[in-house]
Symmetry: C2
Subunit: 411 residues, 2 copies
């Protein structure tokens, strides 16, 4: 996971100076880390007795400025909030520009552990915990900005499995706020939404989670609430394949950008529980224990779709998710960056749980839709899942210090 | 925060064997940590070049069995879910005993990183991340168990500030599920609620958060969504004062137990933002920067309620929260273990955010109610906060391996 791009985790090295400047216990950590590194490099020199302490992940930052926006190739943080806004009637192109300037400025501050410009609780801003803020534009945003909308920017084709709710779908502006700390996410979300109030109103908010920092090794593929290893076939950030899959080939305002699909997939955990372990593994085509294809032993083994059982049936069933999701041609790949959601039981429901499916791809029509169409037709997992929300956004490129996200569209 | 009791964090030392057994990268961490410690102790011996890596907090466990239940004197985890259940009409004393046996057994497994007995997603159970499960009984539970109910077990007196909603108040059985990992909490909650389905139905669920593991130094007092340092005057687990404040003096079934107050306090963040920094500090009586009383410089300085300004006004105003909350006599102390909540903006609301106030004390009437009564009368913070849920529970003692929580009441 040592991605060389802007998504690489910069905390360990990048925040050492900050740790020293902060003084006290955090500086102590910095000192310990520095001496530790020194010891490793100079094994013949006696080590200094220093207190053992882990570096503070809360101080880790991801750069906001760059050719691409952060929060895409960034190793996914533990918490992600997705807010979709609708522009007010009177928010014209000039107002949209003002809004994106203010939002970018505050996002730049908050992601670096600085308070927002008019931060009402600055003490909550000093723990960035790898905070990233990512902006994406819906169809109406691009039209009102008088930009050329890519052909794929609009609602997905209707799939037979969909039970979409308007209050969980679409939107003019999407803000993805992600960090390893839930209080950091809550504070940043609030500060950014205050910036938008004169220009737009909230359409929907979705809150998601993955494993916490410190729970599992960085780079471990996430598990969803079905217990499945989820996202194995993702291209790795920092590779040419990732760049090919994710970054758009447009040479207009979207150059250096991508597309984002956000779908809320409700998962019927109780019905899933009725299925035995063998049935579950058949429905996915992977083992539950480590996510290996049923024809392999390791998570990243290539599935063998030709393999058959002793009595001639495919080892990986025809209707299994892994077979249906597998692209017919290598152009049909996407980069997934999903979050689990769980809204808790009430008197009226056992739970409201599932997956905030998020994917980035250069072209929705060419990459995402063919996969979803195949899944819609035959994927066994459809028995236990229902898409209840869906939205497509255009993700503009990043910007340099002094610029703002959306400047290629709005200036 | 080095509490010697059962709430002490046992992960670092306690999970070393597990880390070695797990092999791979986690074992590597164990080896690095062991060699690191060795280096410190033997500064004249050259250190071995080992990869630097933090121990995995995900493997840390808190004992389930003990004289007191876990999750009370345990250093508060990052995520807490509170579920209140109502017993089915037909759930009699014998059924209640069965339910508590099943719940205790699964809680014991899950907290130690083992799957529940009928775990449908065992792979989600292997990351305990300091999981604790705490059970507490409402008035009807105790009556139906034919136990002697303490005088304080029932709804609190009505306070003028309350705007209580029945669907966020009361309940027969409370389960507090807390861990440093949100997926761990979601899985454990689901497994435990499956155990209860034949016996009880969910009345309400509240999901809360504090700073993540790795974000701040262990033992840092939490901040709420107003940005305030919240919980400074708590007694410290492991001290005689903590034991006096928290554990009940009853010698019946509640010996070794305590009482638990859970109140959902909605916080009007927007209105709070209208107040300037000086006004905020006056309303609380503490500085926002580090939580020091307005008469001091350090968070844990004792407030000087006699100090006056040059023109004769009290430095800590009469109506400030810290003055109103301060007990008239030392018997009126409580132990707070609160969580923030934030349910996200929708088209209909800016946000639904606040504090899941949780306190433990030996006697609600003697310790909690007098404080709340003073706050109800005059606390300035009432301008920005509204209690919308309230419940009181009796927390039975812990149990030994082979026993179950509630056995002192149900057998």
């Amino acid at each position: 996971m040592a991605a060389p791009g802007r998504g690489a985790r910069t905390g360990r090295a990048g925040s050492t100076r900050r740790q020293f400047l902060l003084g006290g216990a955090v500086a102590g950590v910095g000192a310990a880390a520095a001496i530790g590194a020194d010891t490793v490099l100079n094994a013949d020199r006696p080590a200094q007795p220093v207190p053992a302490a882990a570096p503070m992940n809360g101080e880790s930052t991801v750069p906001f400025y760059g050719a691409h926006q952060a929060g895409i190739d960034t190793d996914a943080q533990a918490h992600g909030v997705f807010v979709a806004l609708d522009l007010h009637e009177g928010t014209d192109r000039e107002a949209m520009r003002r809004m994106m300037r203010i939002l970018s400025d505050d996002a730049a501050r908050l992601t670096q552990g600085e308070p927002a410009l008019a931060d009402s609780e600055p003490e909550l801003a000093v723990t960035p915990a790898r905070l990233t803020v990512t902006f994406a534009f819906g169809p109406r945003f691009v039209v009102r900005a008088k930009g050329a909308a890519p052909a794929w920017l609009g609602p997905l084709p209707a799939f037979s499995v969909d039970r979409l709710q308007p209050e969980l779908s679409d939107g003019d502006l999407l803000i993805q706020i992600a960090a390893d700390d839930p209080l950091t996410v809550a504070h940043a979300t609030r500060m950014l939404l205050k910036d938008t109030r004169s220009f737009a109103s909230v359409r929907w908010t979705q809150q998601g989670f993955r494993r916490a920092y410190g729970s599992v090794k960085p780079g471990t593929t996430m598990r969803n609430l079905f217990g499945q290893v989820d996202g194995t076939s993702n291209p790795s950030p920092g590779t040419a394949e990732f760049d090919r899959v994710v970054w758009t080939q447009h040479d207009g305002w979207l150059a250096g950008g991508t597309s984002m699909v956000v779908r809320r997939i409700r998962m019927d955990l109780d019905k899933w529980d009725e299925l035995d372990r063998g049935g579950r593994e058949q429905s996915v085509g992977r083992t539950l224990s480590n996510g290996a294809p049923l024809t392999g032993t390791d998570e990243h083994d290539e599935p063998d779709f030709e393999a058959t059982t002793a009595i001639g049936f495919p080892v990986i069933p025809e209707f299994s998710h892994v077979r249906r999701a597998r692209p017919e041609d290598p152009g049909q790949r996407i980069f997934r960056r999903a979050y689990n959601y769980e809204d808790g039981a009430t008197a009226d429901r056992v739970s409201d749980a599932g997956l905030i499916f998020v994917s980035f791809q250069a072209d929705v029509d060419a990459q995402f839709t063919p996969i979803q169409r195949r899944l819609d037709q035959l994927d066994l997992l459809n028995e236990w899942t229902v898409p209840v929300g869906s939205a497509v956004f255009a993700v503009p490129p990043g910007c340099a210090d002094g610029g703002y996200v959306g400047e290629t569209l709005l200036t």
